[in-house]
């Protein structure tokens, strides 16, 4: 047999590899590989059997070619054959090839599993190890299925060799990570824990990785490991560096094992058993003591290993957070590292200190290092370390050192890296606010902040300063003075202009006494910045100007001149133009009293959580240190909402909560809804010209016509009735829209506006009298209960009725509205169907194509589907169809149906009783002018009703 004499050198492989390496170009390499592949193919052709050596050699070559990036589509069989060889090298190459190249769907997987099974049950430890390594490397689901039961058995069997146990533990860990559902906890779990007591350190190290992972998922089952781990740890820590021979690394006994033990302990709370706890504390103290000892070696590996253990120990101490003594000691130890010349150590020390700072026991201890940390912030070369230093400063800040820290951070900001500037700005802003003793300091700080790093000051920060200034009377004068001074700098940041404009607009009068800051000077100062600013800032400045007119009547003519100039009143930006026009009119028409009311000083903002803090949290993500801790006892102010910045009329005159809550509350007060109702009336009744003249200009629609005599909303329960009464089918027009004219004759016009959210809806009915005579005894009855409307409608006037609707269950008939009134003695009677249809309670649902079809298939019961084929009533315009389907309330899904002509929608009908998911498909046939509509929903009545409703729409 030649194979025996050739040995394991595989000269052919070496020659091939050197050939490839010597190739001058890619083409030459490909040629060489093609040649080799052809050679291997001819060898594998199978007309003569290959010996194990050549098989191994060729499989090796194939593997090499594969690793060079070429496709290999043969040779798997030969590799599998190698698995059954008895020679270690051949088996090893076979396993190597399989681990690298086999994909799980291969039909060979059965053969491979079989070979692995054989090896696992063999008594040969090396073969078992090879098999285990292969399982771990492939780690596929199939492998897990086949061997998840087998491996724990090997792991805990008494007669298994140590090396096999190590492999088995790690292999099980891998399988558990890839498919945790297949690795079942069983009676072996307790025995795994006892592996911590194993004689062999390697086994312990491997087992502890497994236990850590398992105990994170099922902490209770592995609780017993704590005491075992502590005793193991104490044995290692107390051992001399020579005791553990093979497991001593540069004079440190078993560093990896120690780290893993400490990490395992971090999964559990401090041990309750006093003895165990005492022992653990002793261990931790020993570790801290050892850190003080002079190093036994100058090698970097020695200090690395020692420090690794130390840092894990400190993490554990922080995790327990119950031993003041240890915490302080840890802090001192870290303090030493702060000045270490190893950058990594400094980084780690700063990071750990951040967590220490949040502990009540060590907070003071951390504070002693403030000078060092500030120094680190200034002199550190590595940006990530500087970032940590900034974090730590933030964490250690409290009332006593706030001024110093904020000052340091501000001065650092000037040179800080761009990447961390925004975060720094937020932190400074938060600290300044949180620990502000006097608010003039706060204002100074923030203005400084804007001056230094204006670009990085987010909206929230300057909103916040304005909120605070407005809410606190004592700083207003100071703030006005400071911003005035700040604005005098030749180049100001835009944010500064915003703050300045706002504050001077509100409180400019407080400093107007000084001739240096007389009203005109203030105005000129602000206006000198005007042209350099963006549109939102200009808008804000315009609002400030109108406020000036109120505060200082002597500036009126100057400001009116500015507003009248073409660059304002004819500005291409519609917002600016509108403001200029409105303010100009307001200033010239309104009397001083009106002006004073409209342009009154802003009322204090409601107290709310600072949005800056929220922003910082978002930036840092979960796990941010000591942010939560900041929240408590915090004096929160409301976010400066759109009203402040927009500063438009309604916000100035009525900074109502509706400005930012609009659409958020389920039942806003009627007054909040009234302006919008009024504006609706304007367009509903525009041709009727019913609008009474208002004294203010028309965009100051604080009081619409409907507002004066609007009835308070009547909460009426809407209960579905099976009323088989057919009436005016006007309601059908409202299937796909919510607003419009419901009914109109010579006498009466009924406008409707409705909005729906989930299973709730609100409908405004506007009854407009088109005649000049009043309607008397005007009553409306809904076939469900409702509150009466104003019994009198003046000629040319209108009244409003609000109906609150709740959908209890699905329904098919709309409620009826009966209206009776006397017009010139004659009794008028009118019955209308209210346009409330089931589709109004749709919640649109977006879904991907396959989701849609999956659900479509799920709703396949015959009664769940309703289909209709009908002729088109209107032109088949895609855009119109789309608009209608959107108006229906469902989500129109694009790119779902393979035919782009078809429309596919999905939505959920919200009723109080249940939610009915519905899917819809509309297939237009342009040639035949026909549609096919298919509706599927989880409730048969809904499908049918929807189908009926929709069929009449197209």
């Amino acid at each position: 047999m030649p194979a025996v004499s050739k040995g394991d050198g595989m000269r052919g492989l070496a020659v091939f590899i050197s050939d490839i390496r010597n190739c001058k170009s890619k083409e030459a390499e490909i040629k060489r590989i093609n040649k080799e592949l052809a050679n291997i193919r001819s060898k594998f052709k199978g007309d003569k059997a290959l010996d194990g050596y050549s098989k191994k050699k060729y499989v090796c070559k194939l593997l090499f070619i594969f690793l060079l990036g070429h496709d290999i589509d043969f040779g798997h069989m030969e590799a599998v054959n190698l698995l059954s060889s008895n020679k270690y090298t051949e088996k090893q190459i076979g396993y190597l090839f399989i681990s690298v190249l086999v994909n799980s769907n291969s039909e060979l997987i059965r053969l491979i599993n079989n070979a692995i099974k054989n090896d696992l049950s063999s008594r040969n430890p090396t073969f078992m190890c090879l098999a285990l390594h292969c399982i771990a490397n492939v780690g596929s689901r199939e492998m897990a299925e086949a061997f998840a039961g087998e491996i724990p058995r090997i792991l805990v069997a008494g007669d298994t060799m140590d090396s096999v146990k190590q492999s088995a533990a790690l292999c099980l860990l891998r399988l558990y990570k890839t498919s945790p559902d297949l690795v079942l906890m069983g009676e072996w779990t307790s025995r795994v824990v006892h592996l911590l007591n194993d004689q062999h350190m390697g086994v312990v190290t491997a087992a502890i990785s497994l236990i850590t992972c398992l105990s994170q998922k099922n902490p209770d089952e592995f609780k017993t490991c704590v005491s075992l781990a502590v005793s193991r740890l104490s044995r290692i820590v107390s051992s001399a560096s020579t005791d553990l021979q093979d497991y001593t690394y540069y004079f440190v006994p078993a560093p990896w094992l120690s780290c893993k033990l400490l990490r395992l302990l971090q999964c559990y709370p401090p041990p309750e058993d006093g003895a165990v706890k005492g022992r653990l504390v002793e261990c931790l103290e020993t570790i801290l003591n050892k850190a003080q000892e002079p190093p036994k070696s100058k090698k970097v590996q020695h200090s690395n290993a020692k420090n690794a253990i130390l840092f894990e120990a400190i993490s554990l101490i922080i995790h327990y957070d119950s031993e003041p003594n240890l915490l302080v000691r840890a802090c001192n130890q870290l303090g030493q590292f702060l000045q270490h010349r190893e950058t990594n150590l400094r980084y780690l020390a700063l990071e750990s200190m951040c967590t220490l700072a949040s502990s009540e026991f060590s907070h003071e201890a951390v504070k002693t290092h403030i000078e060092t940390v500030i120094n680190a912030l200034k002199t550190e070369r590595d940006v990530s370390v500087r970032q940590r230093a900034a974090d730590l400063l933030y964490a250690m800040c409290d009332r006593s050192n706030a001024k110093q820290i904020v000052a340091e951070m501000l001065s650092y900001l000037e040179t800080a890296d761009y990447s961390i500037r925004e975060e720094m700005v937020l932190k400074v802003a938060i600290l300044a606010e949180k620990y502000a003793v006097d608010y003039s300091w706060y204002v100074d700080t923030i203005l400084n902040l804007i001056r230094i790093a204006g670009d990085y000051v987010s909206e929230e920060v300057w909103y916040r300063v304005i909120q605070i200034v407005i809410n606190r009377d004592d700083v207003q004068g100071y703030a006005a003075k400071t911003v005035f001074e700040a604005l005098q700098a030749p180049a100001c940041h835009e944010n500064m202009v915003k703050v300045g404009g706002y504050i001077l607009g509100e409180f400019g009068n407080l400093i107007a006494g000084d001739p240096r800051s007389s009203p005109l000077v203030q105005f000129n100062l602000l206006h000198s910045k005007f042209h350099l600013c963006s549109v939102p800032t200009r808008a804000l400045l315009l609002s400030a100007y109108i406020k000036f007119i109120n505060l200082f009547p002597e500036t009126k003519s100057t400001i009116q001149e500015v507003l009248r100039s073409d660059s304002q009143i004819r500005n291409s930006d519609v917002e600016l133009q509108q403001r200029a026009v409105e303010y100009l009119k307001l200033s010239s028409i309104a009397s001083t009293d009106v002006l004073a009311t409209v342009l009154e000083e802003m009322p204090p903002f409601p107290e709310r959580e600072s949005s800056i803090l929220a922003k910082l949290k978002k930036k840092k993500g979960p796990g941010a240190v000591s942010v939560n801790e900041l929240e408590e006892g915090k004096r929160e102010g409301g976010e400066l909402n759109g009203g402040g910045e927009r500063g438009d009329n309604s916000a100035i005159s009525t900074p109502s909560p509706s400005a930012d809550l609009l659409g958020l509350r389920t039942g806003p007060p009627v007054t909040a809804a009234a302006p919008s109702a009024g504006s609706l009336l304007v367009d509903v009744f525009s041709e009727a010209d019913l609008e009474p003249p208002t004294e203010s200009s028309d965009s100051l629609l604080a009081e619409g016509p409907g507002d004066s005599d609007a009835t308070p909303g009547c909460p009426c329960m809407f209960v579905c009735l099976t009323h088989t009464h057919t009436l005016l089918s006007l309601a059908l027009r409202f299937v796909c829209k919510n607003n419009g004219v419901l009914f109109e004759n010579q006498l009466l016009q009924i406008g409707i506006k409705s909005e729906y959210r989930q299973n709730l809806g609100r409908m405004y009915l506007f009854y407009g009298n088109k005649t000049s005579v009043q309607f008397i005894t005007f009553t409306t009855t809904l076939n469900v209960q409702s509150k009466p409307v104003e019994p009198l409608i003046e000629g040319g006037a209108q009244v409003q009725q609000v109906i609150n609707i709740e959908c209890l269950t699905d329904f098919s008939d709309a409620p009826l509205l009966n209206i009776k009134f006397r017009y010139g003695g004659a009794l008028q009677n009118l019955t209308l169907k209210l346009p409330v249809t089931i589709n109004k309670f749709f919640q649109p649902t977006e879904m991907a194509s396959h989701d849609f079809f999956q659900r479509w298939k799920q709703l396949s019961l015959p009664q769940q589907e309703a289909q209709k084929i009908f002729k088109a009533n209107h032109a088949m315009d895609t855009e119109v169809l789309k608009a209608k389907l959107l108006g229906l309330g469902m989500a129109l899904l694009e790119n779902v149906d393979p035919n782009p002509e078809n429309f596919v929608c999905a939505g959920v009908i919200q009723t109080k009783a249940q939610q009915v998911g519905s899917l819809l498909r509309l297939e237009p046939n342009a040639q035949a002018q026909m549609y096919r509509l298919t509706v599927r929903s989880s409730k048969d009545t809904v499908s049918k009703r929807l189908c009926e409703l929709l069929a009449e729409q197209f």
Partner: protein
């Protein structure tokens, strides 16, 4: 305009680096090496963009030539320049290889100084360049010679100097064509075109004026109108339709546009007079008839017949047929009646070579290919069978009708010039699907 020009060897080491503009830094050199040369053929486009810098490259054997620019240049111009640059280098030191470039780098820098000025291409006519850039050290030139060179290079006819004298006035004209074909297995032509070049070598005295005529359809038809019906019928058959053509700078384009006659004062020595392309009435010199039969999963039978389709008196040369084999080929047996055939594993193909073959002949090869069963279900893509050959005629049908030389100042006439005309048709991409 071109900002810089770099020449690399196959490893990506810089052999020549010449930067013409400040916007190109040294890092551009590395960017090209890292992103193109070392990209292991991932980059296949000749134009690549990194960091707002465009790299145009051509490859000659193992040498990469890359022109770099930050501006929006005419890419065609840059490539034309790079090709010209290659021509110039070959004219000076024959083959472009790493060795030759290293040995001639002073010369190359000298050339680069001359043919690119601040990134603008200048006179790259080899003949003209050779008058003042020589390989034999510095030749001291007299004042007259210097002024002569200056006036020539800056003058109207920059490609030819005055006062050339030959004892024997000779003209060589080669029509070189490459024919490209893609044919379906059933013998249907899917696409075919001929791209041809007219290359001349002229050794003429004085400043002669040449006129070149060929059987261009437009010219023949124009003449046919004036001549007899008999004549036009005859010439109509022979004339060819040229799709597009480009000329050497010496050709008077205004004359070509108005009269479609090609007249020029030729440069001295070798040059390419024109390039053209035709797509109609192409004579396909060979027809390949493939027959592929798959016998079970492990065997494939291939039979390929080639037929020559030209005058029996002519001889085709250097015929090579390349039959691709599947990627899982494990063994091949070939039988051919003529020539030699061999399975080349490194190229995954059977290569069949025939030295010579006369027109209207037929030859055949049959091969049995054994396959190794694979677990891949992918079917073999059956790449086309390609062919190489050389034939002594122009497959486009182009004929040189005349080449007249006028030299009014010197006393030799058209008849005294010895003219040589040669036609060579080569295969370009000549493929038949199987």
């Amino acid at each position: 305009m071109i900002g810089g020009l770099f020449i690399y060897n196959h490893k990506g080491e810089v052999l020549i680096s010449r930067v013409y503009r400040d916007d190109i830094g040294r890092n551009a050199v590395d960017a090209f090496r890292v992103n193109v040369i070392h990209a292991r053929q991932q980059v296949r486009s000749p134009v690549t963009n990194f960091a707002r810098t465009s790299f145009f490259h051509v490859k000659r054997s193992n040498i990469w030539l890359a022109a770099v620019t930050k501006q929006n240049v005419n890419a065609a111009m840059v490539f034309e320049f790079l090709y010209k640059m290659c021509d110039v280098m070959t004219a000076y030191f024959s083959k472009i290889s790493e060795e030759n470039i290293k040995n001639n780098f002073v010369l190359i820098y000298e050339l680069l100084d001359e043919i690119l000025d601040f990134g603008y291409p200048q006179n790259s006519e080899t003949g003209a360049l050779k008058t003042f850039i020589t390989q034999q050290g510095i030749k001291s030139q007299t004042k007259e010679e210097q002024s002569q060179i200056t006036s020539q290079v800056t003058g109207q006819i920059g490609w030819r100097r005055e006062g050339i004298k030959y004892r024997r006035n000779e003209l060589f004209l080669d029509v070189l064509e490459s024919v490209n074909l893609l044919m379906s297995p059933q013998g249907q032509v899917l696409s075919a075109h001929v791209s041809g070049r007219v290359v001349m070598k002229s050794y003429l005295s004085g400043m002669p004026e040449c006129k070149f005529g060929m059987n261009d359809k437009i010219v023949i038809d124009k003449q046919g109108k004036g001549g007899t019906t008999d004549d036009s019928g005859k010439s109509g058959k022979q004339s060819i339709a040229i799709d597009d053509c480009t000329f050497h700078q010496c050709v008077r384009l205004s004359k070509f546009d108005s009269e479609r006659s090609i007249s020029f004062i030729p440069p001295d020595g070798e040059y390419e007079l024109m390039r053209y392309r035709t797509t109609k009435d192409i004579i396909l010199p060979f027809r390949v008839i493939p027959l592929v039969r798959e016998v079970g999963r492990t065997k494939l039978e291939v039979k390929v017949v080639i037929k020559s389709n030209f005058k029996p008196s002519l001889l085709a040369q250097k015929i090579e047929v390349r039959i691709p084999t599947p990627l899982n080929t494990s063994g091949v047996q070939v039988i051919c009646m003529k020539g030699k055939a061999k399975y080349k594993a490194s190229e995954n193909a059977i290569v069949w070579k025939i030295k010579r073959m006369a027109g209207m002949k037929e030859s055949q090869i049959s091969a049995e290919i054994e396959l190794l069963p694979t677990n891949d279900k992918k079917k073999w893509a059956r790449p086309p069978i390609s062919m190489n050959f050389e034939v002594p005629f122009a497959p486009s049908g182009l004929k040189v009708r005349y080449l007249k030389v006028f030299e009014p100042k010197l006393n030799y006439s058209d008849h005294d010039v010895i003219k040589w005309v040669r036609y060579i048709g080569r295969s370009g991409i000549y493929e038949t699907r199987c």
